[in-house]
Symmetry: D2
Subunit: 424 residues, 4 copies
C-alpha cells in the first residue's frame, strides 16, 4: 500500500534508523500523529514517548488523548500544562510588541511552536529521548520552527518528520490507520486543518487557500461568531495594564492566561479578531489562512493605543519599525537569534511606562478603544486646549516653522524634482 518515498536524509539533524532507542513524539491525538505513533515504532524500531502540551487549545480532551497514546503503544504518555508559562513568558512579549504579522495575525502558531519546543527539549532530556518527532509537512513553516528551535536548544537532539518522509496522502493515512487499529474520526464536511492555542486559532486548507475564492467563514470559524450573528448590543470592557502587561479585566485582577482566555470568549461572542491573510511563508510560498485571535486582537488594540498615549512621536515611529521586525523574526523561526533578545530589551524598556486603564467597545466585529488613562499620559490638557489660557506658547511657532522648513525650502529651490516629474 505504501508507495516508495523519494525522501532522502540530507540534514545532519535528521535521525537515522538504528542510531537511537527512544523517540519523543509531539502528540496531538489527531489522525496524523496517531498514525505516526505506530509508524515510528514500526519503521524506526524504537520506543515512543508521547507528549501533549496544553497551551490553551480548547478542542482537546487531554486525558483521552493520553489514553489514546498509551493504547497505540506509547511507552509513556505525558500531558504537560504550559498555559501559564506560555502566557507569562511568551505572550507578554507579543503584547509588548503589538504582535501583528502582515495585518492582524497575532502569531499564535509561531509563538506556540516556541513554547512546545522549550517544553519538548526539557521532557526529552528527562525521559532520555535522543530524538524528537513532529507532525509537520515539508512545505510549511512549522517544520522550520520545530527543527530550528529543537536543535538550537539542544544541538545534540535529532529529529524525525514522518509526514515528510512517508509517501502517504490523506487516503493512504486512513487506510494505514484502519489497518493498524487506529481510531479515525473524519470530518468530511470540513476540509480545513487547524492549529490552536490560547493566543489564536488558525485555519488552512480547502477554499481558504486560494485568494480568488471567498472563504465560507460560517463553516470555517471555530471560536468567533460572525458579526452578523453577534449581539446587537455593544459591550464596553476595561483592561488595566501594568508595565505593558494586562493585569485586570473589568476591575477584576487575574492571571494573564485567564485574562486572555476570557477575552477570547468576549471577543468571540462579538465576532472580533477574525482575519484572512495571504501570508508569506518562510519557505517562499504564499498561502491564505483564516485567523481567529479575538483575545489577542483586543489586548493588542488596547496596548497599542495606551503605548502611543505615553510615548513621544520619536518613540512611536521607531516602535512601528521594531514591532514589524519582531513580527517577521517571530514568524520566521528566529526566536532564539540573539537579535530577539535585544528587541525584547527595547520593547520591555518602553513598556515600563505602559501603565493605565483602557476602555474598549466590542460590537459586531469592531474593536474600538474609546477611552484611556495613564499616569504617564503625554496628553496635556493645558498645552493642548484651544482655549486662550493654554500654556502652549504660540509666539514660538513662526520661528519654529522658519527653521524646521529651512532644509526643505533650500533643497527644493536648488533641485526641483517636481519640475522633473512633470517634464516627463
Amino acid at each position: 500500500m505504501q508507495k516508495e518515498s523519494t525522501y532522502q536524509k540530507v540534514a545532519s539533524h535528521e535521525a537515522i534508523k538504528g542510531e537511537f532507542h527512544k523517540c519523543l513524539l509531539l502528540y496531538s491525538g489527531g489522525l496524523d500523529t496517531s498514525v505516526m505513533l505506530t509508524w515510528i515504532q514500526e519503521n524506526y524500531a524504537c520506543e515512543v514517548v508521547a507528549l501533549t502540551i496544553d497551551i490553551g487549545q480548547t478542542a482537546d480532551n487531554l486525558e483521552s488523548i493520553k489514553q489514546k497514546a498509551l493504547n497505540l503503544g506509547a511507552k509513556e504518555a505525558i500531558v504537560y500544562d504550559a498555559k501559564d508559562e506560555f502566557a507569562d513568558i511568551l505572550l507578554v512579549e507579543a503584547i509588548k510588541a503589538n504582535a501583528d504579522y502582515q495585518g492582524g495575525y497575532a502569531l499564535s502558531t509561531p509563538l506556540g511552536r516556541v513554547m512546545i519546543s522549550k517544553v519538548a527539549t526539557k521532557i526529552a532530556q528527562q525521559y532520555g529521548c535522543e530524538v524528537i518527532a513532529h507532525g509537520c509537512t515539508g512545505k510549511g513553516n512549522d517544520q522550520v520552527r520545530f527543527e530550528g528551535y529543537l536543535t538550537t536548544l539542544n544541538p545534540k537532539i535529532k529529529t524525525i518528520a514522518p509526514v515528510r518522509e512517508w509517501s502517504m496522502g490523506r487516503q493512504e493515512e486512513i487506510e494505514y490507520a484502519e489497518k493498524h487499529g487506529i481510531p479515525v474520526k473524519q470530518k468530511k464536511d470540513r476540509p480545513y486543518s487547524y492549529d490552536e492555542n490560547m493566543w489564536g486559532n488558525t485555519g488552512e486548507g480547502g477554499e481558504i487557500e486560494d485568494p480568488k475564492l471567498i472563504p465560507p467563514l460560517k463553516n470555517i470559524l471555530q471560536w468567533c461568531k460572525l458579526p452578523e450573528e453577534s449581539p446587537d448590543q455593544e459591550e464596553i470592557i476595561e483592561i488595566e495594564f501594568c508595565q505593558g502587561v494586562p493585569i485586570s479585566l473589568n476591575g477584576q485582577k487575574m492571571k494573564l492566561s485567564e485574562l486572555i482566555m476570557r477575552c477570547n470568549t468576549l471577543g468571540g461572542l462579538h465576532g472580533v479578531g477574525v482575519f484572512h491573510l495571504i501570508e508569506d511563508r518562510i519557505v517562499g510560498l504564499k498561502v491564505r489562512g483564516v485567523y481567529e485571535n479575538p483575545g489577542a486582537s483586543i489586548l493588542i488594540s488596547a496596548h497599542k493605543k495606551l503605548e502611543q498615549l505615553v510615548s513621544t512621536r520619536e518613540e512611536n515611529e521607531l516602535k512601528s519599525f521594531i514591532d514589524n521586525k519582531w513580527a517577521y523574526l517571530t514568524y520566521g523561526a528566529k526566536w532564539y537569534d540573539p537579535v530577539m533578545y535585544h528587541i525584547h530589551a527595547y520593547t520591555n524598556n518602553q513598556n515600563k511606562k505602559v501603565t493605565g486603564k483602557v476602555k474598549i467597545k466590542l460590537f459586531k466585529g469592531n474593536i474600538t478603544v474609546v477611552a484611556l488613562e495613564s499616569p504617564y499620559s503625554l496628553f496635556n490638557a493645558d498645552l493642548a486646549t484651544f482655549e486662550k489660557n493654554a500654556t502652549f506658547n504660540q509666539n514660538a511657532s513662526a520661528g519654529f516653522i522658519e527653521i524646521y522648513n529651512l532644509a526643505q525650502k533650500t533643497a527644493f529651490n536648488v533641485y526641483n524634482f517636481e519640475d522633473e516629474l512633470f517634464k516627463n
Copy 2:
C-alpha cells in the same frame, strides 16, 4: 475691545505691514476666515483676494462663499476646482503608500494642505499677491504645513497668520464679527471644529481632545453612520486597480475623484473608516482627533491586500517601513523634501504590478477584503496545495532548515541570553 497681542514677528517669512499691497486669503467662508477678511484689510491696509479651493469638501456651497467674500470687501473672490488634481496627483500617492498615520488616519488634512498650497502659490502669482494669509492657529500642524509649503514653492512669498497674531478668543471674534457686519452662524451644540476634503473629515475640540473621555460619536460624526445604525445587510463591492490606482467600482470605470467620493458614500452608509487617534502633532503636542475616512479606508484596505498578494516577503517587509516613513513625513509637513520623491519612486515602482480586482465586504463598521485576483499574484496553487501532486519539492526542506538555522544555533550555544534572562 481687542486686547494687545504679545505676538511678535520673528520669522523672515512673516509679512510686515506697509511692505505689501495685495494679500491672498485662503478663504473657507467660516467665521475665522470671514473675520480675517475684514481684519486684514483693517490691520494691513491692503487689498484682499479670497481663494476658496474645492478639494471635495461636502459641507460647502462654493458659490455662496464666493458671494460672501465679495460682500466682505474682497477685491476678488476665486473658487478653484482642484478635485481632479487632488485625486490624480496626490491621492494616488496616498493609495500607493497605504496612507496610515499612527493607526487608521489616511492623512486627509496633511494632503489637503499640499494641494491648497500648490494652488495658492499659482493663484498668488496670477493675481500679483505678495502675501498669503491662512486661518491656522499657533499650536497646530497646519500653520507648519502652509507656511512651509508656501515659502518652499515660492521663497519670495510672505505669509500672515492672523489667528496667531490677534488676541481674540472665540467670544471676541463673534463680537468683532457682529461689529463689522459679518454673518455669524454659531453651532453652539457642536463645539467641534472640522477639516474636510474628499479624502476624509477630521473633527477636533471639546470632548474629542481628552483621551480619558469617551467621545460622543453620535454628535461628532458628519460622514459616517454609527455601526449600530448602519444596514443589517452586508454589501460586497469590487474595486479594480491598475498599477496601484483604483480604476473601477463594481465593474464601472470612473475617474478617481468620483470613485473616492462614491466610496465615501458607500463606506459612510456602512459606518466604516472611523478612528479616534491620539496623534503626535509636529509641534510636540498630543491631541485626540476623530477621523472619518470611509472611502480612503476601503481603498487602502483593498490596495494593501492586493499589493501583498503580488509582492514577496522581502518587498512586504520593507514596504511597511517605507509606508510608515511616508506617513510620518507627509504628516510632518515634509512633502517637498526631496526624500519624498525618492519614496514615491520606490512606491510607484512596486505599484507597477499592483493590478487586479478586489472584493470587499462592508458591514457595520467592518471592511473585509474577501477575495482578490491579479495577473501578478504570487499565490501559486500548484506550489501551495496540500495535495500530493504539488510541485513544491519537500525533499529540499530538511537541508534548508539546517542551513537557515545554523547562525541561530551557533550563536545561542556560544552566548545564551536565555540563561542570562532567567539568572536575574
Copy 3:
C-alpha cells in the same frame, strides 16, 4: 558702539530682565564668554556665577580661567571635574553605539553638551541660579542642545543666549572687551573656532566651511599630526573590551577616561581619526567641519569589529540601523527623548557579549583591526575551514538554495522588472 538688536524674546524659556537675580554662565575663558560675563551683569543687572566644566579639553588652564572669571566680576567661579562621569556614563554609550554621524564624526560636541547640561542643572540648583547663560550663536546646533536639555532637566530654568541677543560682530566684541578691560588674545592667523573635549576636537570657520575649498589641515589640526608627518613605523596596540567597554590598553587596566586620553595621544601621533564632514545641522544648514577624534576612532573601530565577530547576520544588520538612529538623535539634541533609553537598552543588551581583545595597527592615518579574539566569537574554525573534515554539512546546501530562492524565482517569472527596465 552697540547697534540695536532686532532680537525679540519669543520662547517662554528665555529669561527676562528683572525677573531673576542670579545667572549661571557656562564659562570657557575665551573672548565670547568673557565679554558675556560682563555684558550679562551690565544688561540684566544680576549676579553671575561662572561654571567651567572639565570634560577633557586639553587647551585650557582651568585655574587661570577661574581666576579670570573672578577678575571679571563673577560672584563665584566654579571648576567642575566631569571627566569620569563623561567617560563612564556617556562615552560608554557612544562606544556601544559605534558613534558615527554621517561618516566618521564620533559626536564629541553633542555628547559634551549633554554632560555640560547635566552638571549645569545640578550646579544651578546648588547655587540658587534661576537662569543659565550659554555662549552659542543663533545658527548652530549647540543652542538647541543647551536650551533643550537645560529646560528638559529642569523645566523651571530660564536661559540667556547673549550672542543671539546682542548685535556685536567679532570686531564689536573686541572693542567691547577693550573698553571693559577684558583681556583679548586674538589668534589672527587662525580664523577657526574649536570645541574640544576628550572625545574629540571640532574645528569650524574660515576655509573649513566651504566644501569647494581644500582645508589647510596643517594650520587647522590641533591634536593630530598629518599622516605625512607621522612616524614611518607602524604601532600595534591591543585593547581589551568587557561587555562593550574598553578596560585595558596594551595589557594595562585603566579607567576609561584615561584609556581614551591615551588613545588620543597614540592616535594623534599616527594621524588617525581626522575627518572633514559636510554635516547637516539641526537648524537646516549644511556646513563643513574638520573633526579630530583619534581616540574615539580607534575605540569605535575596534569595538565595531569585535561586535560583528560575536553577532549574527541578523544582529549586525539591525545594529547598523540602530546605531545610525542613535547618531542622528544624539546629534539632533534628543538625548533625553525616551526613545534613546530604549535604544540604550538595545545596545547594552547586545554589548553584554562584546568581550575580548582587539589588536589594532596604527600607521600614517590608517586604523586597521588586524586580529580579534573573544570567548563569544561566532567564528567556528571547524565549520568554516575549506578542509575536508569540516563539520559543515554540505549536503544540505542544494535544498537550502532551492527554498531560499523560491520566492525570488516565482516573483521574477510572474512580473519581470528587468524586461520593464530595458523596454524603456
Copy 4:
C-alpha cells in the same frame, strides 16, 4: 582513488545523469574548473561547453584559457567580454548605493556573480545547453548566488555543482588532474584562493580565515601595495560625476569600465581600499576575508560625499538605511527579488542630482575627499557663514528650540527613565 561521495540530489534544479546532453561550464582555467571539465564529461556522459567571462579580472590570459578548455575536451570554448555591461548595468548601481557590506566591502564577488549568471543564461540558450555547471563549494555564498540566479533567470535550467558532489580534497584533485593530463600549476606558498573582477579582488583561506591571526598582507595582496611601500608623495585626483555616475578622471572623459580600472591602478599604488572583514555568509558561517577594492573605495568615497552635499538631512538618514539594505540583499543573493528594483528606483531618483566634481587625496592607504563642488550643492555660504551679514534669521531660533524640544521636555518630566536607570 575517488572516494564515494555522500552527496545526494535533493533540489529539483540539480541535473541528473542521463537527463541532459550538453552542459555549459563556467570555466576559469584554474585547477578546480579544469578538473571539472574532464570530470563532468566522464561522470555525466555529456558534452561540455566552456564559458569564460571577462569582467575585468587581471590575472587571466583569456586566450590561453580558451585553448586549455579545448585541449581538455570542451566541445566549444567561449570567451565573452562583459566588462562594459558589468560596469554600465551593475556597477553603476553599486556606486549609487555606496556599496558597503559590513564595513568596506564593495561587493565585487556578489555583483560579479550576477553578471556571470546573466551571461551564462544567455549563452546556455544560444548553445542549447540544458545544464550549467559551476565550481563553487557547498559551504560558500557563490553556490547560492549561481543556482539562485540561474534558475530565476531560466526556471528550466538545471545545475551541477561538482565540487559539492565529488569527494575530492585538494590532494585528490591534483592526483585526478595528473592522471587525466590536466596541467597543474600549484602555488604552494600562497594557500589562498582569490576571486577577482574589476570591482575588487577577494582573498580567502589559510591564515586569512581565522580572526585571531594577523593576516600576512604582504603575501596576500595582489592589487595593492602596502601603505608602507606606497609613494611618499600624495596624489590628488579629480572625479566628475553626472547623475551619480563617474564620467571623468582628472578632467578626461572616459567610459566607466576604464575609469574604474584606472582607479584600481591609482588606488593600488597608494595602497587604499584594503579591508579585512569577518563577514556573515548567507549559509550562516562567519569567515574572515581580505578584500582589495581600491577603485571601488575611491569612487564610493567620492560619491558618498557628493551625495551628502546635495541631499537633505532626511535624505541622508534614510539613504544610509536603504544602502545598508541594498548591501545585505546584494550579498544575500537577492538581486532579482523585486524589492531590489524598487530600491534601485529610489537610489536612481536621488542620484539624479549627484552631479559635480570631487577632489580626492590618495596617500599611503588614506582616501580623503578634500573638496567638492556641485550645481546642486546645499551648502549655502550666505546662510552658513559666521559673518554678520548672513541671511540666516537667528531671531527664529529660540522659538524653534521651544517647540522642537517640547515633546522631549514633556515626556522626560512625566516618566523619568534617567532616575529609573540610576535607581538600579
